[in-house]
């Protein structure tokens, strides 16, 4: 027993468990107190992360609180002093076996064909606590066998034991109350309402927590039996949250991802992207061998031929080694920290290339991500604190973080102040919602800082500015979630806003909302312009935008893509396209052929998700392990090994040839990693939070002028949706169809000016391009703005965006 535990025990609640005198923590539920003391009480409806409901009655135990023994649901009962609990006496056993018999009378017992068979709490409890034989000879309840309740989830009502877990999760945790109890008595069923499918970004969690095989996920259905699965713990690399997961495979193929309950990060929950995105790893479109471009160079004639690794590495080395200042490197967020280190070392120490950027102009500048005082997720959502949201909708960009934020606002009295161009999924839980007109973020926050609360500023009422300033200036801890809420608006405004917020709340901390995988790791490893490893400022280096401009201007002729697809992801489509048109040498390290890597001269196939060992640095700076579960596809290689190979072709030695050696080298060269215990990383804990204090701070410089409002146009707001045309979604069979079609959304008043009907097509125009889009009314758009999501089928909104304009204004006509 540690010191803290013994003081807890001293102040705890004494009780008797099966005659043994024990101590519970204050307020601890009996079911948990028993579990902690090694006595397991069977349960179905109870789930540690949800409000107990005491419905299934499986956890009944005999409890005497001084008024005589009575059967009580242990999941609803906080331990009280001197409580006497019998979990094994005859009364308890009879009650538990009685409940189990009743559960089983209508259960179809189709275990041999049930996905849950072998890992089923109902099976397990039936063996351990059940009566052994059924006395039920009547006709069982019948329902149509599985009905799809969403694109991803199927419901078999015959197997359902009505435990309220899925329904409670959808209401209480996800905030998507789309699955309900219907009917009553023994006719009660779980179902969705007609025309309201269970299309929640979090639907897969219900499959994981369903205690029987009533809910099954389309990607896993009939794929494997639990006893054929092997598992390893890893980290989701789909967004910057870094949710903890268990990877399961059968016959060397990934078949399932489950959420792991990490106190610090995801509490066991996952978004469906994190859960089902593994499908892409098994896709037949995966790159499996190095390729070289063939053909005349005309787009219509482009083809690829396989080449040997040696050859590919030599060509890559030649292209990188020739003329360092004429090389640009874009990407690196998909890589593990170790691979990022290897590439960073190769580029900075061997090839002496400084034009490196892991961000694609769609996130936040590296100095803001690296140099602002960092908040952990736990600090951000700590009860009673204030969260300022200056980022895209967390539900779309960082969905598991969204669940923590939602919980914080709904349950823990956290006040959310959102300063975003349009409403987000947190608006209904926010204390204040401010929606500055695009381009006005800096002036709005400046007015807050200056106390100029009269009239409206940038579309925000003075009273709201004042209320926000008061909340931020209160003595409650403030965390700013800092991200890119609008791709059609310069990130310079964000810098101005940070400066103002730091005047109101000098102790504010920041949580960078980086949606692209391991971008924090990439920044930390020096894959950022102006920064070396460990966030040390360096001289020079171009950002992605500058690299693309330099290609167009002829100063850069070689591009290396580290798992990046600028042609799709860089917000300004025209600039990216022009650069790719002009570039002389294009080398791509990738897992799939993307729009960008399809144009490459050399393609280096990289090992993908579930195929590599390494680690991941999430947005709060927590280092957690990524584990290989299956062999990499074809000849694809670990990203870091490719760096070692390129270095060798350049006649250099990076100083490591195994992952262990690499890690030793990394810890020796990057101060924040010097204490990392690589061997035990993430074993039994959530992984360490690395030191993110710097001996420098971001520079704020001149404030950017507020762009003039074009009275005839609408300011464009472009942001991300969870389901989009991204590589991962599109290569996951079950997810590929989920993105909705691109459309234009307007506020009601702007819509009414058009004198058209919802669902009709309208023409939109900028100086650059014009398009025809379906228009809808969307109350989340403030007046004067127009919303079009990024990377959706039907229209590439990047065509409208020019990174040289601080905001993008569009004209809309019928």
């Amino acid at each position: 027993m540690t010191a803290t535990e013994s003081t807890e025990a001293a102040t705890g609640v004494p009780f008797f468990l099966n005659g043994k005198s024990l101590t519970a923590n204050k307020g601890e539920l009996l079911i948990d107190a028993c579990e902690r003391n090694g006595v397991h009480i069977p349960r179905f409806c109870y789930h540690e992360r949800m409000t107990p409901v005491g419905m299934c009655r499986m956890c009944l135990v005999e409890v005497d609180t001084g008024r005589g023994p009575a059967l009580q649901p242990s999941c609803m009962l906080p331990v009280t002093p001197e409580m006497k609990v019998q979990t094994e006496n005859e009364v308890t056993q009879r009650a538990q076996s009685g409940v189990l018999e009743l559960f089983l009378i209508n259960h179809p017992l189709d275990c041999p064909v049930c996905d849950k068979g072998g890992e089923c709490p109902l099976q397990d409890n039936a063996y351990s606590y059940g009566p052994g034989e059924s006395r039920f000879v009547e006709e069982k309840r019948h329902y149509e066998k599985p009905i799809p309740i969403s694109d991803l989830v199927n419901l078999d009502r015959e197997r359902c034991i009505l435990c309220d877990r899925c329904t409670r999760f959808s209401k209480e945790v996800a905030g998507d109350p789309l699955i309900h109890f219907m009917g009553r008595g023994s006719e009660t069923q779980v179902n969705t309402f007609p025309d309201h499918p269970f299309s929640s970004y979090f639907s897969g969690n219900t499959v994981q927590i369903c205690p029987v095989g009533a809910l099954t996920a389309s990607p896993y259905r009939f794929k494997a039996r639990p006893w054929d699965l092997t598992a390893t713990e890893s980290t989701a690399v789909i967004d910057g949250t870094g949710a903890r997961i268990a990877l399961q495979s059968s016959q060397d193929e990934l078949v399932r991802v489950l959420g792991v309950d990490s106190e610090a990060i995801n509490w066991g929950w996952l978004s469906d992207k994190e859960r089902f995105g593994y499908e892409s790893a098994n896709s037949s479109s995966r790159l499996t061998e190095p390729l070289v471009k063939t053909g005349s160079g005309q787009t219509s004639d482009i083809g690829f031929a396989p080449i040997r690794w040696n050859n590919a590495l030599a060509r890559t080395a030649a292209a990188l080694g020739a003329n360092p200042e004429r090389v640009g490197v874009i990407g690196g967020a998909r890589l593990s920290v170790e691979a990022q280190y290897a590439w960073s070392k190769l580029l900075s120490k061997v090839a002496l290339i400084s034009n490196v950027d892991a961000d694609l102009g769609d996130g936040i500048p590296a100095d803001l991500a690296l140099g602002l005082p960092r908040a952990s997720i736990a600090e951000t959502v700590a009860p009673g604190s204030v969260v300022v949201l200056m980022a895209g909708d967390p539900k779309e960009e960082l969905p598991t973080l969204f669940l923590r934020l939602r919980h914080a606002a709904v349950e823990d009295g956290v006040s959310i102040v959102e300063i975003t161009p349009r409403r987000t999924s947190l608006t209904k839980h926010a204390a204040l919602s401010l929606h500055p007109r695009p381009g006005a973020l800096g002036s709005v926050t400046e007015a807050m800082a200056n106390g100029s609360f009269s009239g409206t500023v940038g579309g925000v009422e003075g009273s709201d500015l004042q209320a926000a300033a008061e909340l931020l200036g209160s003595d409650r801890p403030v965390t700013v979630i800092l991200g890119r809420a609008n791709l059609a608006e310069s990130s310079d405004f964000l810098r101005d806003a940070v400066q103002s917020i730091l005047t109101i709340a000098p102790n504010a901390k920041f949580l960078p909302a980086l949606r692209r995988g391991n971008l924090m790791g990439a920044f930390e490893m020096g894959l950022a312009p102006g920064f070396g490893m460990g966030g040390v400022p360096t001289e020079g280096g171009c950002s992605t935008e500058q690299i693309l401009r330099a290609v167009v201007g002829g100063q850069i002729e070689t591009l290396l893509l580290l798992g990046a697809d600028p042609l799709s992801d860089f917000p300004d489509r025209a600039l990216a396209a022009q650069a790719f048109d002009q570039v002389t040498n294009l080398i791509a390290l990738d897992t799939f052929l993307s729009s960008s890597s399809t144009l490459a001269d050399i393609v280096l196939p990289a090992a993908g998700f579930g195929e590599v060992d390494g680690s991941f640095l999430n947005i709060e700076g927590r280092l957690s392990p990524i584990q290989a579960k299956v062999t990499s596809k074809g000849q694809s290689r670990d990203d870091w090994l490719i760096a070692v190979g390129v270095a060798a072709s350049l006649g250099a030695d990076l100083g490591f040839s195994t992952l262990e050696e690499l890690r030793i080298d990394l810890s020796a060269n990057v101060a924040s990693f010097s204490q990392v215990d690589w061997i035990n990383l993430g074993r039994g804990d959530d992984g360490p939070l690395l030191d993110s204090t710097r001996d420098w701070s971001p520079e704020f410089g001149e404030r950017k002028a507020v762009p003039a409002v074009d009275g005839y146009g609408l300011a464009l707001v472009v942001d991300h949706k969870l389901w989009d045309l991204g590589t991962l979604v599109q290569n996951s069979a079950t997810l590929a169809g989920l993105p909705e079609k691109a459309g234009l959304a307007l506020s009601r008043s702007d819509f009414e000016k058009l004198a058209t009907e919802e669902g009709e097509r309208v023409t939109i125009e900028t100086e650059r391009a014009s398009a025809n889009l379906v228009v809808t009314i969307d109350d989340s758009c403030p007046r004067g703005t127009a919303h079009i999501p990024f990377r959706l089928p039907g229209f590439d909104v990047g065509e409208l965006i020019s990174v040289s304009s601080p905001v993008t204004t569009i004209r809309v006509a019928r």
Partner: protein
């Protein structure tokens, strides 16, 4: 001011007797439900009395009167009121969902004297220092709805409800709410869920004791219609006079709704603890005997949820603690009489079916257990019973209500009574209610069940036997 009467009241109505009248004094007037009649017969005098006193004095009077709740559980209203923590807003919810099998006394109180009820509500709100009352009336009771609505409109107009009642600074709103037709919303926490707009499913107590965490999780008192109908009289006449009626433990009167095989069924207001079941069934003033001079076979003393009584209990005074100690409950005051011609298996099946159909489905033992009980009973009744089914029925009951289930004694068989209430594995008492008819009927009339079970040589031909094969047979033959 004349209220319209678009419906014909149910024929089985109120029957007068010589006993004291606390809640039915206006019932014999044709226009008993109008404000005119109420005012002509002392209506709202109780409210005036109450408003002259402090809320604490009013609550104290109710406590002194030992006014037991008339909704079923019989908890003293004054003590319940004292459980409210000093938290506002707080609410009064009136339980007019009356759906317990055999019970129809609240309906008469609502149809025949809505002003008495409204007056009781306003007095209670005043005593509890709250100003929002919800009157939840069972959906099927159209006439009660209409009359309460009219009475409320009249009472608002006359200044007995609403802003600045009778010129004081007391303001109280009474909102009429129409139920949607489920027995379970009579249970107070399910009623609160329903009032909030959710499906009517009980909450768990603890932690959701309404007095602490009720409607919208605020302190809420739930009282039965009849309980509150006592208040106007109590205010005018005082606790001492109230306690001079009835017995020490159960002062005052009770509305008893008698149905079944008696010559004069109906609702009677009787003094508690004074009248016996024998008086009630055979007395000239009351039911005037069993029909056709038949013998009594069994009776249900307190609503369908109550274990049955037999001739042995006829001389028990009609009083909650007496009935409780003898193995049943006075519950909702609904007494159902079965004469010797009654088909006990059918009667049992009928009651069990009610609970199976009305189970809300929230907890496993009741959801699955009651449906199973119904199926087995139906099978027996259809002539496909198996010898082991009777013990199976009792065993299913054990999974819902473990331990000795309350039963009445019958001296002839030298059996001791098991006092009320039963233990339960369920969330609310609905599940255990289904066990009452089974335990009562199977223990006392086992032979009548056995008579329906085919002789052993027939069993295999007509009914499946236990075990996996049987299950297969059934599924295949579906």
């Amino acid at each position: 001011m004349v209220a319209t009467n678009a419906y014909v009241p149910h024929a089985a109505g109120y029957v007068d007797n010589d006993g004291p009248k606390i809640v039915t004094s206006r019932f014999l007037h044709e226009d008993s439900y109008t404000l005119v009649r109420a005012l002509a017969t002392g209506g709202y005098d109780g409210l005036k009395d109450a408003l002259r006193r402090s809320p604490a004095e009013v609550a104290g009077e109710v406590k002194n009167a030992v006014l037991l709740g008339r909704g079923g559980a019989g908890f003293p209203a004054g003590i319940k009121w004292g459980f409210m923590p000093p938290v506002w807003p707080r609410y009064l919810v009136v339980n007019g969902d009356e759906s317990e099998p055999g019970t129809y006394k609240d309906r008469l109180l609502m149809e025949r004297d809505p002003h008495q009820l409204i007056e009781g509500c306003v007095i209670t709100c005043y005593a509890l220092g709250l100003n929002q009352c919800f009157l939840y009336v069972r959906g099927e009771m159209a006439l009660a709805q209409e009359r309460i609505a009219q009475a409320l409109n009249d009472a608002y107009a006359a200044g007995y409800v609403g802003k600045n009642i009778l010129g004081t600074d007391v303001s109280i709103d009474v909102v009429l709410h129409w139920g949607a037709g489920a027995y379970i919303v009579g249970e107070e926490t399910a009623l609160i869920e329903s009032l909030e707009g959710n499906p009517g499913r009980p909450r768990l107590k603890p932690p959701f004791f309404p007095a602490a965490k009720g409607l919208y999780l605020k302190p809420t008192i739930v009282n039965n219609v009849e309980t509150l109908a006592n208040l106007p009289w109590l205010m005018v006449n005082g606790a001492d006079k109230f306690r001079s009626y009835g017995s020490e433990k159960s002062p005052g009167t009770r509305m008893l709704a008698i149905s079944g095989h008696v010559n004069r069924p109906g609702v009677y207001e009787v003094e508690q603890g004074v009248v016996t079941f024998r008086d009630l069934f055979y007395g000239e003033q009351f039911c005037q005997g069993i029909r056709d001079g038949n013998a009594l076979k069994a009776f249900v003393p307190g609503g369908g949820s109550a274990p049955w009584f037999f001739e042995d209990q006829l001389d028990l005074p009609i009083e909650a603690s007496e009935v409780g100690s003898q193995g049943s409950m006075l519950g909702s005051g609904a007494i159902m009489v079965m004469d010797e011609t009654t088909d006990i298996v059918k009667a049992c099946l009928r009651l069990v079916r009610f609970y199976a159909r009305e189970s809300c489905g929230k907890c496993t033992p009741c959801r699955e257990g009651t449906a199973w009980e119904e199926k087995v009973l139906q099978r027996i009744s259809d002539g496909h019973g198996r010898p082991e089914d009777l013990d199976l029925l009792l065993e299913i009951g054990q999974s819902i209500s473990p331990g000795d289930y309350p039963v009445a004694s019958f001296i002839s068989e030298d059996l001791d009574p098991v006092p009320f209430p039963p233990k339960q594995t369920t969330i609310c008492p609905l599940g255990p209610s289904s066990v009452a008819p089974i335990t009562s009927a199977v223990r006392r009339f086992r032979s009548e069940f056995e008579a329906l079970i085919p002789k052993s040589e027939l069993i295999s031909a007509t009914a499946p036997t236990v075990g996996p094969d049987a299950v297969e047979q059934l599924e295949v033959s579906k």
